[in-house]
């Protein structure tokens, strides 16, 4: 399902024609989606720098409440939107997946900031997970480091547009055999086990970044350590500077 796709059975042209005459028709679906999108309850869950911008978005100047999404819930059981705001490290990833599993259906995920999308600037870190979508599906990716509060608002409207296109009959969470709980990765000696969940994410066949710089970017040419005895002036005055 793509964004903006209204699957309603009433033709949109007919609808607008009727609206001109003062008749507003709405399907049950429209009401359903309207209710759902106007009261998105995000999980109060901050990871890093972007969390501060998330708080700023909830504060007076940007006022997330205008979108009906100001009610940050501290418990995943009461939330239906997870804003992954910041770097997901390997140490934190199991908890993020667990929180996702604990959220009731329907649940949505916004990855806020470059780090949670693909590792971002910290992509070379040993302990940094290269994208939370290795383990859980993501609805809206929001790049930026960090995205402005307005960008988060835009991301939420984007999510609302996605919710608008939902159909009750085809909603995933009413289907049989829906698999929306994902196995929680475990700590291994080198990193997480598994490295990704092939149900959710598959690696690219070729990474140009790795071909060119190695993965991660390592000290390509450095093999000799500096000799400390040979430099540094012993007569340097040590004291208050």
């Amino acid at each position: 399902m793509t964004l903006n796709q209204n699957l309603s059975t009433v033709e949109s042209g007919l609808k607008s024609e009727l609206r001109k005459k003062g008749i507003v028709i709405a399907t049950l679906e429209d009401f359903y989606n309207w209710g759902r999108r106007s009261s998105i309850w995000p999980l109060q869950f901050g990871l890093a720098c972007c969390a501060i911008e998330m708080i700023a978005t909830a504060c007076a100047r940007y006022d997330l409440a205008r979108f009906g999404a100001e009610l940050f819930r501290a418990s995943p059981r009461q939330a239906d939107l997870m804003i992954i705001s910041g770097t997901v490290t390997k140490k934190m990833a199991p908890q993020v997946v667990r929180l996702y599993n604990q959220m009731p259906e329907p649940k949505y995920v916004i990855t806020m900031g470059a780090c949670s999308i693909a590792g971002g600037p910290f992509i070379d870190g040993t302990n940094v997970l290269k994208g939370i979508d290795r383990y859980i599906p993501v609805d809206v990716h929001l790049p930026g480091c960090p995205p402005r509060p307005e960008a988060l608002l835009w991301g939420i409207t984007e999510l609302q547009r996605k919710i608008d296109g939902q159909e009750i009959e085809k909603n995933e969470w009413y289907q049989r055999g829906l698999k929306r709980e994902f196995p929680i990765p475990e700590f291994g000696p080198k990193g997480l086990i598994p490295k990704f969940n092939p149900d959710v994410w598959r690696p690219e066949t070729a990474s140009r970044r790795r071909e060119r710089y190695g993965d991660p970017i390592l000290l390509g040419k450095k093999t000799a350590a500096p000799k400390f005895e040979t430099f540094g002036d012993p007569n340097v005055k040590v004291g208050t500077v």
């Binding site: 598994p194 710089y213 993965d215 390592l218 540094g232 012993p234 004291g239």
Partner: protein, 194 residues
């Protein structure tokens, strides 16, 4: 006070102690560290009662632990102490019982460089999890390649009811048969390094 003066002071206090001036700091043997630090902290002249920073540095042939000491009362400092230990058996006496500020910093140095601070009350990994192998800040550390599944991952996924695509499974099996680990690669020789 410059390093040379501190050195003469220390030599008169502890006759026969091997001290070498390296850079701005004094190079000590691991066995002398605690008594020198205690002397610097408690003597009325230095009163270096504030241990600002502990750093470990990997110099390939050896590991080094660098201490920056300041005096809060006299507002002097820093006195820089260095201790060198071999890479394969890095053991340094801990300073926690002298300076509480060493507690987390020594754990950090242990986690990142693998220096064992002997006498530390709670020497565990601080940032990485228990059971992690290797020390990420050593220059020879290679992280894993995160885009290929290894046999452990495949087994784990199948145990949790995830079907692994055949080509990933085959690759993991080949890796295991060859006895290799999927580690990150250094850039190819022709490629530009940073």
């Amino acid at each position: 006070m410059n390093p040379a003066e501190i050195k003469t002071k220390l030599e008169s206090e502890f006759p026969g102690i091997p001290i070498q001036i390296v850079g701005e700091g004094l190079l000590l043997g691991p066995e002398d560290l605690v008594r020198v630090a205690r002397f610097l902290k408690e003597s009325g002249e230095f009163k270096m009662n504030y241990l600002s920073s502990i750093t470990a540095v990997d110099y390939l042939e050896h590991l080094e632990s660098v201490y920056h000491l300041y005096s809060v009362d006299q507002r002097t400092g820093p006195v820089v102490l260095r201790v060198r230990v071999p890479r394969d058996n890095p053991r340094i006496p801990s300073l926690v019982h002298l300076f509480r500020s060493a507690e987390f910093q020594e754990r950090e140095a242990y986690d990142m460089m693998g220096i064992r601070y002997e006498g530390h009350p709670d020497l565990r990994r601080i940032f990485m999890w228990e059971g992690f192998e290797g020390y990420p800040l050593r220059k020879d550390y290679l992280p894993e390649n995160e885009d290929v599944l290894e046999w452990d991952d495949v087994e784990w996924l199948e145990r949790h009811g995830v079907t692994v695509p055949a080509e990933y499974k085959q690759y993991a099996q080949d890796l295991k048969a060859a006895g290799k680990e999927a580690r990150a690669e250094r850039p190819k020789p022709g490629a530009e390094a940073v």
